[in-house]
Symmetry: C2
Subunit: 237 residues, 2 copies
DNA sequence: CTCGTCATGGTACTCAAGTCCCATGACGCA
DNA sequence: TGCGTCATGGGACTTGAGTACCATGACGAG
């Protein structure tokens, strides 16, 4: 629990140094670059050695340099009451944020996948702000859905609409940014519709209530069984 | 269009050398490691220099070492007729493949995000096999959905259920693998249900047909407008 | 103004990626 | 069996990440 370097001694000087370094790195990151520690340090008129005093590695510097969005809400000034409209407004705004900062989003995603264990605890890295934004959009559903179902819906929506999905839709599926955004908006509203339909008919259905939620486990497994031996031959994706 | 190194001269010897190298790398990759070029070469009793003759960089070697799955289908032996059941079987099998090889999937995802332009054309890297598998599961819907809607549905399902979504659900949302799989299965079937509901009521509805597909553009944009100035302050996620 | 603390700068080192060049030795054709 | 081709190995070099050590010079408390 040692106090970080910047919080002891001549703290004001350190703040200025650190600020200059982060600012230099931020400028380069915003332009889509991935600056070397030395490059960022040089740009800030700081020695490489000093830079490493403030950040244990390049990754940490890039994380600190990552432009962040402070918005507490993505809803428009006069938010709609209808959950569907609210959700679409938020998702659209969210996706535009993502697309507008796509290079940085990709960098952060890549860094978060870094296998190096020593870098793992570096942290705030990808905070999951979207959960709050989507949750706010869906707040009219509080009474309609159980807390559990609501949370599941939020997570499902976010995992269907975000930088990860964008990467796959553009890089693998070959969609344009615009098409990808349209598709993710559709996904989000489709998931919402399903959740609502599910809740409105809940209790009435006796069998086939949720053909997905577990009963098919056995069958699914048997489906993979014959593939087990091939598992190390080809990539699933 | 120069012929690759291995296809000229003493090709049999080269095949053996290359095979040994890939095999050595594959073993390490399968154990979740990310071998150095030198490590893989040493393990294959090959010099580092020679290794670089076969693969231009570590990335290419890792890609070649990536275990691939040759399955043409993920459907069980006696596939259900019901599209929903078929989809769930395929998605479940697919997700188990992903989870079982998660470290490699993550590595591939990370490599695919590599910014280095010289590595970009390296190739097959993440081929998008799942599109075919899901498409096969949904083949009973050929007549029911337009080709365009069917394709959209397939892409939506795959982008909601795959390694990218798994990464987010576990790393950011904090779900366990098991929970994440359950959630993605729900997403897949929910998307299918929505698509079917949409098609069965199509043509009847005059307004509010698809509140998502474009009409809300203006509103969504205005929602983000007030945030434009904050764009470089905090991360959206 | 002085002196000791402390932030900084510089140099040198390790390690991995990647490139280049040249020697060597095995393969296979004549 | 001999010889030239050619795959391989080894060494040297560059660059970036990251670490360690020591000198210096500025700040500020007395």
């Amino acid at each position: 629990m040692s106090i970080p370097y910047e919080l002891s001694g001549r703290t004001r000087q350190k703040q200025r140094t650190r600020g200059a370094l982060v600012e230099a790195a931020r400028e380069m990151v915003t332009q889509g670059q991935t600056p070397t520690v030395d490059e960022a340090a040089t740009k800030a008129s700081i020695s490489r050695t000093t830079a490493y005093r403030y950040f244990p590695n390049q990754r940490a510097l890039l994380v600190a340099a990552h432009p962040e969005i402070g918005a507490l809400s993505l809803l428009p000034e006069k938010p709609p009451i209808d959950a569907s409209a609210r959700l679409d407004a938020v998702i659209t705004a969210f996706l535009h944020l993502i697309v507008d900062t796509e290079p940085q989003q990709r960098t952060m995603l890549r860094l978060s996948l870094d296998p190096d264990p020593s870098h793992r605890g570096d942290l705030p890295l990808r905070k999951g702000r979207a959960i709050g934004w989507i949750g706010e959009a869906l707040s009219p559903l509080r009474g309609q859905l159980t807390e559990r179902d609501l949370r599941r819906l939020i997570l499902a929506i976010r995992s269907a609409a975000g930088i990860e999905a964008l990467v796959w839709l553009t890089d693998i599926a070959g969609l344009s940014r615009k098409e990808a955004v349209q598709l993710m908006r559709w996904s989000a509203s489709a998931l919402l519709r399903s959740a609502l339909a599910e809740s409105s008919t809940a209790g009435r259905q006796i069998k086939r209530r949720r053909p997905v939620e577990g009963s098919t486990r056995r069958r699914g497994s048997s489906g993979t069984a014959k593939l087990a031996l091939n598992l190390r031959r080809r990539a699933p994706d």
